[in-house]
Amino acid sequence: MARRYEIRLSGSGGQGIILSGIILAEALGLYGGKFVAQTQSYGPEARGGASRAEVIASDEEIDYPKAIKLDLLLAMNQKSCDQYYRDLKEDGILIVDSTFVNQVPTSKAIQIPFTKIAREKFHREIVANIISLGAITEFMDIISPNAMEEAVLARVPKGTEKLNSAALKAGLMAARKFKESMKKGREPQEYHGED
């Protein structure tokens, strides 16, 4: 049976989680040639706090559209990190926005301050989600950076293309940096925004 990838993006409303989910799905599906199914959680009819998007990708048609065991979990805040960590496979990847996530449940956690980067480097918190997509791309071999960039550019408002591809790159870089830091076995350093 073909390999099935299960990804969950989680955080709070206003962090652009749903849009990230759609872009990720399009990167994998439209530009990556995979079968994809994307779902999201809705709060009560009135606006709710938590936000969650899931993307399932596979080389064959997707039956059950929701995640069963996660290959990758992105947690943009502490609550979602605590809540969803248990859904991760043993070898699943956990990426957190260290701007808001202070306690990580595993040392293997990939900690990158997406929001901080967004603030300090782009003076726009909203691009934090795009930055996180960069990191995801770096850590998921099934996504090609070009596919992701195409997907991002196809969805973001006209006029913001430059900003967003820059953000995407920043995410990729930050992720690489983190990888190295881990290879070097050093404690992952907090990002200070030099680059």
């Binding site: 049976m1 759609i22 799905a25 399009e26 599906g29 439209l30 530009y31 990556g32 040639g33 079968f35 994809v36 199914a37 994307q38 779902t39 999201q40 809705y42 709060g43 009560p44 009819e45 997707i62 039956d63 059950y64 559209p65 929701k66 069963i68 090609s144 070009n146 596919a147 195409e150």
Partner: protein, 380 residues
């Protein structure tokens, strides 16, 4: 890296319904917002004016149903979309469409019920209502997609059936299907079969609007094209005028049921998945059919001979398909996100032949593959 396919795109089930409707020639939509069907109204409001169609947000669902019947009588294919609470309100006028044989399509994106229930969570609780919601005996066709692509395809079918059989057609699916996004490649318009109602060819003075025909479907004139006929929700004679005569009412009632029965071979659609050698058969529809499919594959890996009958038509109930399945299958599993609705029909036509067991959930969640797999193990 793969290049993006021309007409490929990622869309929600709700959006696919709109695409299907537009392909099928729908040019009038009247609706009232309601979670989780609202996207259908919203996208319609954007798309229709671009193709010279009309979108109107009415004061409620009763009005929406009335408006689409009116539009259809004026010759424009029409549709509305809602969820449980609104669907309940549409029932009276829905019955009018059955009685006066006016083609139209109603989409019900099912959320948790009863009453306001759980607006943002999936359910299959309206399946019996779709068949029996309005008063009096009435024929109806109910389709149930389980994928985004099926949302597109079955909406087209819905319009085709409604036009061909002069009847309202209901499309029902749970919130998961409505909000889920999948990659779909829409066909070229010319590759899609679109059926329009048969118009009268006789001169107006010869036109008999409710005359019986071999297929039981009289040609349908349209307001404004010179036939000046009468339409009423009262029992009517073949000319469409009110009647109290049993010898006119009886034949009429039987004709409007017969016309659907005659169409069953094409109306009843389903998917037979690995049923050839199946001792256990799962009968499912909507998002649950997706879980079932996965469960079948997992069970097969463990060597269990199990298959899936996916219902794409819920009403009229697919007796023949089920009978075919139970020719071999000794056990039937019917998982539904309700207290057991289609399973009642399965039991009815099963007539005690196979062992029927049900899986039901009404806590707001859909049924995951694991839950079905467990049941397969139990019965095998």
């Amino acid at each position: 890296m793969k290049k993006r396919q021309p007409r490929e795109s990622l869309m929600q089930g709700n959006e696919a319904v709109v695409e299907g409707a537009l392909y099928a020639g729908c040019r009038f939509f009247a609706g009232y917002p309601i979670t989780p069907a609202t996207e259908i109204s919203e996208v319609m409001s954007i798309r229709l004016p671009r193709v010279d169609g009309t979108f109107i947000q009415m004061e409620d669902e009763i009005a929406s149903m009335g408006a689409i019947i009116g539009a259809s009588l004026a010759g424009v294919k029409s549709m509305t979309a809602t969820s449980g609470p609104g669907f309940s309100l549409m029932q009276e006028n829905l019955g009018f469409a059955c009685m006066s044989e006016v083609p139209c399509v109603v989409v019900d994106v099912m959320r948790g019920g009863p009453s306001t229930g759980i607006p943002t969570y999936p359910s299959q609780g309206d399946v019996m209502q779709a068949r029996w919601g309005t008063h009096g005996d009435h024929p109806i066709i109910v389709l149930a997609p389980s994928t985004v692509r099926e949302c597109f395809d079955l909406t087209i079918k819905a319009f085709n059936f409604s036009e061909k059989y002069r009847t309202p057609v209901i499309v029902v699916f749970d919130e998961v299907v409505g909000h889920m996004r999948e990659k779909v490649a829409l066909p070229r318009a010319e590759d899609v079969e679109v059926i329009d109602r048969i118009r009268p060819t006789v001169p107006p003075e010869w036109y008999i609007p409710y005359e019986d025909t071999t297929q039981g479907v009289p040609p349908m004139a349209v307001f404004g094209d010179g036939y000046r006929f009468h339409v009423t929700g009262l029992t009517h004679d073949i000319r469409g005028f009110p009647t109290l005569r049993p010898d006119e009412i009886g034949p009429f009632m039987h004709r409007i049921h017969r016309k659907i029965t005659l169409g069953l071979p094409e109306i009843q659609m389903g998917e037979f998945f690995q049923l050839e050698d199946a001792d256990i058969a799962i009968i499912a529809y909507g998002s649950v059919a997706r879980s079932a499919r996965r469960a079948v594959m997992d069970a097969r890996e463990k060597g269990v001979k199990v298959g899936l009958l996916k219902l794409m038509t819920l009403w009229p109930f697919m007796r023949v398909a089920v009978e075919r399945v139970i020719k071999r299958a000794k056990a039937l599993i019917v998982p539904e996100i309700n207290m057991g609705q289609i399973s009642r029909e399965v039991k009815r036509v099963n007539e005690g032949k196979a062992k029927v067991s049900t899986i039901n959930r009404v806590d707001g969640l859909t049924i995951p593959p694991g839950q079905i797999l467990r049941r397969i193990r139990e019965v095998s």
